[in-house]
Point group: C2
DNA sequence: ATAGAAATGAGAATCTTAAGCATCAGGCGG
DNA sequence: CCGCCTGATGCTTAAGATTCTCATTTCTAT
């Protein structure tokens, strides 16, 4: 229930926050821009301001409820933080986003950071390619 | 010589282009924002518009002369393409950028893409941490 | 040198995101 | 259950980054 997540995060339970959380939870793609969330809310008849969407997402991020991802392009993408760290693979054609986790890579990253004299805090790995899904507009090309 | 690179890239040899290429070649950090390049040109007495810097960098990118990197934050960072692919490790405190290449990671990436049914075209890996350099503002923290 | 095409500079425009501020709503005391 | 207080919201405006427009200038080939 959204209410619980919000309270746990120390955020007052308000309609906009619940709705946004709900959209993030129910999203098919699980990776949404602020704009996309905003439009979805408008479409479903909610009265909400884009500023609120950004504000709430930023608060969610600070609270650890969502992650803000910077893929190529200019818009940030938000995803609900479901616990496990993972990296991303994105189709250049259809925009599909998939998640993966590879312990070998994770390990090598830690090792590399150490070798370079860094205390690693975070990392971002994104693979870009063309997916071979039958719905992909450029399948097989 | 900058002239050669420009001609090879099929770009008309102009003063702004040569100057920008030169700055990219001689830069200590090797990772510059458009703004930084612009300011450096202004400081050295050149008359140039910010729009030109962006335009030229975009052309350079299209020509394969430079790469545009999207680290955290909103500004893109440009680096001269010296041939070899590499990934980046960035200090959260001092902004230092270092490059690395790890064949194990590269291999795993190809493997993962294949397993997920993607024809991989590109990837971006950035490690964020705190460097232990003596000049780093938060050394040892 | 000269014309034609392409490049530049300055400023306006655009896009994304973050304020500022007046109004509204959720949570608590009565 | 009602009303207040503080924080939340919505709208508008702003700020930062990048692109576009267009008149003017610069290359390159002749």
């Amino acid at each position: 229930m959204e209410t619980q997540n919000l309270k746990k995060a120390g955020l007052k339970v308000t309609l906009p926050r619940m709705k946004i959380l709900q959209i993030l939870e129910e999203s098919e793609t699980r990776h949404l821009t602020a704009e996309a969330i905003y439009r979805e809310l408008l479409d479903s008849g909610e009265e909400i301001g884009l500023a609120t969407v950004y504000r709430v997402l930023t608060q969610f991020e600070a609270a650890g409820l969502v992650s803000r991802l910077h893929f190529e392009g200019n818009q940030a993408v938000f995803e609900l933080d479901r616990g496990g760290h993972h990296d991303h693979i994105i189709c250049n054609q259809c925009g599909r986003v998939e998640e993966f986790l590879d312990e070998t890579i994770e390990q090598r990253q830690r090792q590399i950071a150490k070798e370079h004299g860094y205390r690693i805090k975070d990392h971002a790995l994104v693979l870009y390619g063309d997916c071979l899904d039958e719905d992909c507009p450029r399948r097989g090309n």
